[in-house]
């Protein structure tokens, strides 16, 4: 199961409706890009969807949710805390097992930051921190990816290779992106958000960036 039907999504801040009521049918295999200008409600929508499908999703929130005092390894390992017993997690905190170490190292290698395995995330740059959060989502290995601007701090080539990785590793994904070109190249479906409503919902084939620009 990786498709789901979301309906009646709403969110309000201090009495003012910012999202919805909004419905979205997500089919298995959909790779959705949420586009729209800042403040349109993309982040709120990602959060709402996460609340609905919590159990089956890998999340990359905009503020990353890293534990700064822990190393890169531990932050990535947190993606699978639910798969192990408490004693196993506790031992890992002090001394990780070889099997997990290898897995996380391989994953970090694909993100180009293998040498940072034991660095506390507090001392990483913005782009590195973002890749740690992505590695955690990849390690979590859920069917659905929910990501909020996951490559905003990465340079062009790195952003492309990370987007490729996300596309290949998750069958279904919903990614908020402000970069229209990335949205068109890596996603199969573009959902445009305007004033908390779906203003555009079309396959990315046949769309051009100028079609999307009308949302901005």
């Amino acid at each position: 199961m990786s498709g789901f039907n979301l309906s009646g999504l709403t969110a309000s801040f201090s009495g003012k409706r910012v999202i919805g009521p909004l419905s979205l049918q997500v089919n298995p295999g959909d790779k959705i890009a949420l586009v729209g200008k800042s403040g349109a409600g993309k982040s709120t929508l990602i959060r709402l969807i996460h609340e609905r499908v919590n159990r089956d999703s890998s999340l990359v929130p905009q503020d990353l949710g890293l534990v700064n005092a822990l190393s890169v390894f531990h932050n990535v390992f947190m993606g699978q805390l639910d798969k192990h017993a408490t004693w196993y997690n506790t031992v890992t905190l002090a001394r990780p097992f070889a099997k997990d170490r290898t897995e996380v190292t391989t994953l970090l290698q694909s993100l180009g930051m293998k040498e940072k395995l034991w660095t506390p995330t507090a001392s990483l740059s913005g782009g590195q921190r973002q890749r740690v959060a992505i590695a955690r989502a990849l390690y979590r290995n859920a069917a659905v990816l929910l990501a909020d601007e996951p490559v905003s701090a990465l340079d062009g080539p790195m952003a492309n290779s990370v987007m490729t990785l996300l596309r290949d590793r998750f069958s279904t994904s919903i990614i908020a992106l402000h970069d229209v070109e990335l949205a068109l190249s890596y996603c199969t479906r573009i959902v445009g958000i305007q004033d908390g409503q779906v203003a555009l919902d079309q396959p990315s084939e046949g769309l051009s960036s100028s079609d999307i620009m009308s949302l901005y």
Partner: protein, 488 residues
């Protein structure tokens, strides 16, 4: 300027203290105070480290009691912090920390006697209450975001050790280290009620006029505290904590009959014990309140308010001593030494020394409280001014102090001061044991007269007074929107 709420609050407190001075008993009653003071300073500059092996034993015991007490308090406090949301737990913690270590020691002495447990529990119990409060505040401040990103189904313990503890670890470690320093001070003064720590040694030296021995003890104590970063190492801590219980000394064995008698007879109010029933209780309580509690409360409040304002004035005068915005390195180093000495000396020891030199009155207590607390706040504020960047052409000298610095640090100064209000009151009450007529005096007298029922009621009154002042201090801090982390 009078329209500023912080200035108005300060002036109100200043006025209260000035009125308090009219009622306070401030005098130097010793026949030759300056000669005694001179002898004492002569003792400090000619310390005698070799007089007896008693000094080293006392030092070892002081460290051992501090480690065991703080470790026990820390563990229990941490567990309590996990359930600190529950109101009964919060009230319990507020209550146990409102009672001073020395009062706890006096209580335990009555039934455990001079057993090491008395000293350990006297430190551990109030510290557990303090740790619970501060740890829970630190845990509350942890970033909640990582917890939200965790895979659902993650166990509570796993979530806690991965997302909360790492985020809070540094703050908790810093605070615990600070508390260990406090624990050394608490442990030292437990000697004044007869436990084998430095206070006992100091009292013995003083009563024999051995000022050089007392001076040696004080110097060793400062060195012990100043070198803490060198000998308190994370890797050595387990060794200290596991080893400390073996250095508490033998003490005297616990007589369990005493324990039973204490709870079933001694602390039962006399009229109930003598079968007079509730009818006898009212006059008993009435007599206790009018003749002991009320004068005790009055003197405690008067002394607290004077000491609070004196502390404030001294802090404001002291912080330039370590501020980078004035003078050269020599003055700053001397300033650091002066403030370290002021804040490392427990107020109880300061008060004891001054009382020996100047004779009994409120004056030694006010000076002791102001020196110790002023040293702490002055240090914190001075450090804070060092992070202030003044414009290149900022005015110098006194104008820099009064125009550039004081206005910038005044709010945090008040925050620290009101934070310490309750601490000052707790100390004020306890200084009564030295013969100043605050609540501690009446508690101590009741215990001397083996009237534990009265002592317990008076300790209860003291605790409630502290809780009240704590609440008032928090109310004022909230009202003036003063923020501070509990680092002093």
């Amino acid at each position: 300027m009078l329209s500023s709420p912080t200035v108005r609050t300060s002036l109100i407190f200043l006025a209260i203290a000035l009125v308090g001075l009219l009622f306070a008993d401030i005098a130097i009653t010793a026949s030759n105070p300056w000669r005694d003071l001179g002898n004492f300073f002569l003792g400090i500059v000619t310390p005698n480290f070799f007089n007896s092996e008693g000094l080293m034993t006392a030092l070892l015991r002081t460290v051992a009691f501090a480690f065991v007490g703080v470790a026990l308090g820390g563990v229990v406090g941490f567990l309590l912090a996990l359930v600190y949301r529950s109101l009964p737990v919060r009230m319990f913690c507020a209550f146990v920390r409102a009672i001073h270590e020395l009062f706890w020691a006096l209580i335990f002495l009555q039934f455990f006697g001079f057993h090491p447990l008395t000293g350990v529990l006297a430190i551990a119990i109030p510290y557990a209450g303090i740790f619970a409060k501060v740890y829970s505040e630190i845990l509350e401040e942890a970033d909640p975001e990582p917890g939200r990103v965790l895979p659902p189904g993650t166990g509570n313990i796993t979530a806690f050790i991965y997302t909360r503890i790492p985020d809070c670890w540094v703050k908790m470690r810093t605070y615990t280290a600070y508390r260990l320093e406090c624990g050394l001070r608490s442990s030292a003064i437990l000697g004044f009620v007869g436990l084998p720590t430095l206070g006992f040694y100091l009292e013995a030296s003083f009563s024999q006029g051995l000022y050089s021995d007392a001076g040696a003890m004080l110097i060793l104590f400062y060195v012990l505290i100043a070198t803490m970063p060198l000998w308190v190492r994370p890797k050595l801590l387990p060794i200290y904590i596991l080893g400390a219980p073996f250095f508490l000394g033998e003490g005297l064995p616990i007589v369990w009959g005493n324990v039973q008698r204490f709870f079933t007879e001694d602390i039962v109010p006399a009229p109930l014990r003598n079968g007079e029933g509730l009818a006898g209780l009212t006059p008993w309580l009435n007599d206790l309140m009018v003749n002991e509690a009320m004068p005790g409360i009055w003197n405690t409040i008067v002394l607290t308010q004077i000491a609070l304002v004196a502390t404030g004035i001294l802090s404001l005068l002291a912080f330039p001593l370590i501020s980078n915005h004035f003078g050269g390195p020599i003055r700053r180093n001397a300033g650091h030494v002066a403030l370290v000495i002021a804040r490392s000396t427990p107020e109880y020891i300061l008060a004891y020394i001054l009382l020996q030199l100047w004779g009994p009155s409120m004056l030694p207590a006010v000076v002791a409280l102001a020196l110790h607390n002023g040293g702490i706040i002055g240090h914190l504020i001075g450090r804070q001014t060092n992070s202030i960047k003044l414009r290149a052409d900022a005015i110098t000298g006194f104008n820099r102090y009064s125009w550039e610095l004081v206005p910038r640090v005044y709010r945090s100064f008040l925050a620290f001061l009101f934070y310490r209000w309750e601490i000052i009151m707790r100390e004020t009450a306890i200084l009564g044991i030295l013969g100043i007529y605050t609540l501690g005096f009446y508690v101590d007298s009741a215990i001397q007269n083996i009237r534990f029922d009265r002592a317990m009621v008076l300790i209860l009154v003291t605790a409630l007074l502290n809780i009240g002042v704590d609440a008032l201090g928090r109310y004022i801090r909230r009202k003036l929107a003063l923020q501070t982390m509990p680092t002093c």
